[in-house]
């Protein structure tokens, strides 16, 4: 038996009446299998070594709640009102004190408070990049940055890294190649400290060299430094901005040193750039959230925030140690990984023949999640790499997660042995948006 419409006339739909209206930059914004798999990673049965969520368990929640209540009752008419696109003056003063810990000397007027440093990155890209412009970035690079560059239709050219960070010779070669090809390089995007995803730190001598190369080629440097204060031994490194204030735009964040959910970050830029960034910020959000800025400001003023950062360092060191021990104990021969001295991430390279993107469903079945290296390249590389984050799970869960991952890798190696070397799929690029909160 069949049922049917009264008139029998077929109707056609693509389910999106706005299809012809989208900008070209929306072309890559599609559903993907990989993103769907991350939905499973949020379940407690799964050990997620995928997301970059800070571990907030050490925060003094009781005293914070008292502070927030006090802000609302005492200064609510200011806290709940619009503010300036520039950000609260007292917070900008405090941000300069925070940056001084990494030898940055900035004037509060040159700081613009943003909705997380992600927004700062978006604004910087917006004011500098036309479609087709080139952005240089480490290979691999932060997936959220690649998503932003893609949104503004900038082309990313990756520059190789090693255990000391960005390789100056590779930078020189990339710049020369772009110049020969007549391509406009707008800036170098770099995460010098405890890199996401690679886990490595740019050595101090290299910092000078990288800055010199960029200056010689007339290329701006965008320094993204969310992890700089999270060295496990408390060590810090001179920020690139401290070494070349006129040619470096510096992005900072309270997401890793205080509370990611408040979404408070900042950009410190040379004066002329700052003016444009402020106008860009105004058109994007009018102003950063006043209440959240006041919470951060009050926290910096009344809490031992440096002591809290030490507690974070300790917690992350324990988790890093658990991950490294697990990797050494369980991972099959032929795997290698970076040893981070701070931050959240270990970058693992697996034996030839294993495609970490293709392996992800098997890992999810085994109740462990990671991010395939392909997400951190704009050009489809990274299929032999994966990012493991140790920031969020307990050390015991990290050990269990690595044990599960090792079993998955062994099975995948068996598949690779059966079917031989697989042609790596190029051009997959980063998923949009970033899975850093999975």
């Amino acid at each position: 038996m069949t049922s049917g419409p009264p008139d029998g006339i077929s109707t056609s739909t693509s389910l999106d009446p706005h299809l012809r209206r989208y900008a070209a930059r929306a072309a890559g914004m599609t559903a993907s299998e990989v993103r769907a798999l991350f939905a499973v990673a949020s379940r407690p049965e799964v050990v997620s070594l995928a997301g970059g969520m800070p571990n907030l368990t050490a925060l003094p929640l009781d005293s914070l709640s008292t502070e927030v209540a006090g802000l609302i009752s005492g200064e609510g008419l200011v806290a709940l009102q619009y503010g300036s696109a520039h950000g609260l003056p007292e917070l900008r003063d405090q941000i300069c004190e925070v940056m001084a810990l990494e030898e940055v000397r900035g004037h509060p007027d040159d700081v613009v408070v943003t909705v997380g440093s992600q927004m700062a990155l978006d604004m910087v890209t917006r004011i500098f990049c036309d479609p087709g412009d080139v952005v240089l970035a480490e290979g691999p690079s932060y997936v959220g940055a690649l998503g932003t560059f893609a949104a503004y239709q900038a082309d990313v050219v990756h520059v190789a890294m090693d255990d000391d960070g960005l390789v100056p010779e590779a930078l020189r070669e990339a710049l020369t190649a772009c110049e020969r090809a007549g391509r406009r390089v707008k800036f170098l995007y770099t995460i010098p400290n405890f890199h996401n995803p690679a886990g490595v730190t740019m050595s101090v001598p290299r910092r000078s060299e990288v800055l010199s190369i960029c200056a010689a080629h007339g290329v701006l440097v965008v320094e993204d430094n969310p992890y700089g204060l999270l060295g496990f031994d408390g060590q810090t490194y001179p920020a690139l901005r401290s070494m070349d204030p006129d040619n470096v735009v510096y992005l900072g964040s309270f997401s890793k040193t205080f509370a990611a959910g408040l979404r408070v970050g900042w950009v410190l830029a040379p004066h002329a750039v700052r003016e444009k960034l402020m106008l860009a910020a105004e058109s994007a959000t009018l102003c950063p959230p006043t209440l959240n800025q006041m919470i951060v400001s009050r926290y910096l003023a009344t809490h031992d925030w440096k002591g809290q950062v030490k507690a974070f360092q300790q917690a992350y060191r324990e988790r890093r140690d658990a991950m490294l021990a697990g990797l050494s104990q369980y991972l099959p021969a032929g795997c290698s990984w970076t040893v981070p001295a701070g931050g959240f991430f270990v970058w693992v390279t697996v034996p030839e023949g294993v495609d970490t993107k293709a392996m992800l469903p098997r890992a999810v079945t085994a109740r462990v999640a990671y991010v395939s290296g392909t997400g951190f390249y704009a050009d489809g590389l990274g299929s032999r790499q994966m990012r493991l984050s140790f920031c969020y799970p307990t050390p015991e869960r990290i050990t269990e997660g690595v044990r599960r991952l090792a079993a998955v890798l062994s099975d995948e190696l068996e598949l690779a042995a059966t079917f031989g070397p697989i042609n790596q799929r190029a051009g997959s690029g980063p998923q949009v948006p970033a899975p850093d909160t999975a």
């Binding site: 038996m1 069949t2 049922s3 049917g4 419409p5 009264p6 029998g8 077929s10 109707t11 056609s12 739909t13 693509s14 389910l15 999106d16 299809l19 599609t30 559903a31 993907s32 299998e33 993103r35 769907a36 798999l37 939905a39 499973v40 379940r43 049965e45 799964v46 495609d355 293709a358 392996m359 992800l360 469903p361 098997r362 999810v364 079945t365 109740r367 068996e414 598949l415 690779a416 042995a417 059966t418 079917f419 031989g420 697989i422 042609n423 799929r425």
Partner: protein, 320 residues
Amino acid sequence: MSDRCVAVLSGGLSHERDVSLRSGRRLSTALRSVGVTVDEWDADANLLARLREHRPDAVLIALHGAEGEGGSVQTVLEMLDVPYVGSDSHACRRAWDKPTAKTELARAGLATPDWVVLPHSTFRELGARAVLDAMVDRLGLPMMLKPEQGGSALGAQVVRDAADLPAAMVGCLAYGETVLAERFVPGVEVAVTVVDGVVDGSDGPVALPAVEIDPESGVYDYTARYTAGLTTFHTPARLDERAAAAVADLAVAAHRLLGLRDVSRTDAIVAGDGTVHFLEVNSSPGLTETSLLPMAAEADGRSLGDIYTALIERAVNRSR
């Protein structure tokens, strides 16, 4: 309007969790719009306690993947004697395992693309190259590769070149240990929803209007399924009267032969010569914004809420 209290199960731990959550939300909204009281539950360690405590009038399973379609949740509900909408655990198992479903239909004389089923171990023990060559000799190219169990086209690929077969095998085996390889049949891809006792005056299975699927990329993969705008759907399918009747008959036959009840969705291909080939059947069809069952219902002048309210009553009556 209905005064029933039901639980919608969605989420779970399968690869299709995200799709399932969306199906569950849409179904819950549809049911609330017709007055049903709905609890939305994940299929997790709290499920049995919740079922015992709340005793819903019926459970609706919007779980996809092995939990919702492979019969395991149905078995639990049967043990607890909780009424639920959908096929029983045995029928779910038959439908969930694609080779089993294809075998049942082929035995009944219905067309389905020629196929072979092979586990990873066979390739490992006999040598991948030789077995892959034999597959190509038997099925030709292009060839469809699918996990023998699974949905949402996860792990499924059309292989057009023998050189791409090893990579496609690795991608497919990431979703399960065994591969179903099928001869590729070009033609018009259709999905036919079958419902029991919903269409006026009928207690048995009735096919709703077929939905024709026309993906922009030519392949109805995960991205084409769940990104609005990448696939054009024609409802009813642009088939002549004879072909339209044939796809409806096939879907009803699949529903009956596999012992399915309440609702199912059969996917099929209408080849150039008019032959309708069975591909697979889903005992827990997707209900997302881009899913096919809601389109078929709408084309038939029915709301999702009306269909599932009627199915709830069937489930409750079965338990009496």
